[in-house]
Subunit: 316 residues, 2 copies
């Protein structure tokens, strides 16, 4: 039995209301004609803080006891989850301490600070991160809310697909990006309850295909050096997400690195919607025939839109 | 009495149905807090062919007589109007011939061809353009549908603000980008009918401020060399748009060139929505205090989202 069940997702829906947006869905005739299916995109790039992560963070924060709220929360994240937890905590008056590597993107540091969190810098890498997190917990008693393996976080992430299914009705296939596995785990738990026959596929970049390899061998891979442009998907699976995905997800699609930025660009150019590379990993398999979805109703979760535009040269 | 009246816009609404989308509106708490107003964006960047231009083109094409339809349509455009007229004509089985300069953007040439139009190349500049258009009309009898001075085109462009006002109700100020003046003219005709007290402002880039200067002197300026990053706003006013704008528009806001790309980037980054530089010209005055809209309800027409991403370096 999965550590996260439908009831957990269902209850999360009420808890995140008023903090997370109900995001719109979009379609694209060009995408449909390229893949032969009928594709609906769930636009979590328009979500508060720019990604789906606010759903899980808000659910987890809402479940804290009064004593835990007084101690505050902490987590390690250099990306979207940092902003999400900071925002969710600030909304209910809970202190947040976020461990970020010293070399984290300055704009993400600023955004996280902007939501009122205290940033604790650490040396880049696993050891620096866990050391700093452990120290914070010891010194402040803060509650660790893990970015993708906390059951309440996973349940919160499952709320996006509930809205998608409410909006479009039946679906044959659902695609979600796969990094730490929080989004995919929550998605599959909810989707398989609502649509027992739906196939749920995780989309993983070739440069961080630890889930595909680990699931093949039946053993979670923790020790690998990711080399992917999808900066939100460099994280290994957690213990819980590994188990949920192993039990419920139908397949993992490994997306060639060379397909990711072209897919991102395609969405920007044709749909006029800013998505980040991690989201493009769930779009790419539809554009050049990697996945056969002819005649099928496909749901794609566009997980976020936080792109570092400093890395781009604007036209002049 | 204006050459385009409310009735013309009102009738255009029914004619463009099924060809142009009803586009969504968006809001941004960050924009509101920066300007102190309550801003609603009308997202014509999500419009069919990527800009509002399809509205005017579709309206004009729908008004052709059978004899005119048989002769086809023509126009000169290197940008959004080329695609719009090509698409609108193809939808009703009318041939379109589009005059484009030899140095036009290859992706825009391809898109226009993709909608089934015949491209006629000319030398860049006014003389080449008008020469080629005259030759087409002489040789084929094609009907010229001018990109921004045809009354039916102007009326069609006015339909966007009708939808905006239906969606948000009352507004105090409406901002629209100003190039050839088709969008602003249609907008002001419709808006002043629906909301007699609304102020309508045209937003013009400093590097192509022919409208601001011409209206000040009471004389249309045709002979100028634009030098603006807003590639959709390099066109001089037409005879009709000059008169409509002179009669009805409350003021012209001249936007410094240095503000345009930062405003575009702001919208991409914060709203996750791809707009082109021309659209950003109507956003920039709200971001750094150029326009005082404290306490006001503001409508902004985001005119299009066709950016040449070839000119941008994607992150790697």
């Amino acid at each position: 039995m999965s550590v996260v069940r439908w009831d957990d997702v269902d209850r999360a829906r009420g808890r995140i209301e008023g903090i997370a947006h109900r995001t719109p869905i979009e379609t694209s005739t060009t995408v449909d004609s390229l893949c032969g299916g009928s594709v609906t995109f769930k636009c979590e790039n328009f979500q508060k803080t720019g990604s789906f992560k606010i759903r899980g963070a808000a659910n987890a924060v809402s479940l804290l006891t009064d004593a835990e709220r007084a101690r505050g929360v902490c987590a390690a994240s250099s990306g979207n989850y940092a902003q999400a937890l900071a925002f969710a905590a600030s909304r209910v008056g809970v202190e947040a301490r976020i461990v970020m590597p010293e070399n984290a993107n300055p704009s993400k540091i600023a955004a996280t600070k902007g939501y009122g969190a205290e940033i604790v810098f650490c040396e880049p890498g696993h050891a620096g991160r866990t050391g700093a997190t452990a120290r914070i917990r010891r010194e402040t008693g803060a509650v660790l809310v893990h970015s993708h393996d906390d059951p309440a976080v996973i349940a919160g992430q499952g709320t996006a697909v509930c809205e998608l299914i409410e909006d479009v009705g039946d679906l044959d296939v659902i695609l979600a990006p796969l990094g730490g596995g929080g989004l995919l785990s929550g998605t599959v738990v909810a989707a398989k309850h609502l649509l027992p026959n739906v196939r749920v596929l995780g989309c993983e970049p070739a440069g961080a295909d630890d889930a595909a390899r680990g699931l093949r061998d039946g053993k979670r891979i923790v020790d690998f050096v990711p080399d992917t442009v999808a900066d939100g998907l460099r994280t290994p699976l957690g213990e819980n997400t590994f188990e949920i995905i192993r039990e419920l997800v139908d397949d993992i699609v490994v997306v060639p690195e060379a397909e990711i930025l072209p897919a991102m660009r395609f969405v920007w150019e044709r749909m006029k919607v800013v998505i980040e590379p991690s989201s493009a990993v769930a779009v790419a398999p539809l554009l050049r025939g990697q996945l056969d979805v002819a005649g099928l109703r496909v749901g794609v979760i566009l997980s976020g839109g936080n792109v570092d535009l400093d890395a781009m040269r604007f036209p002049s």
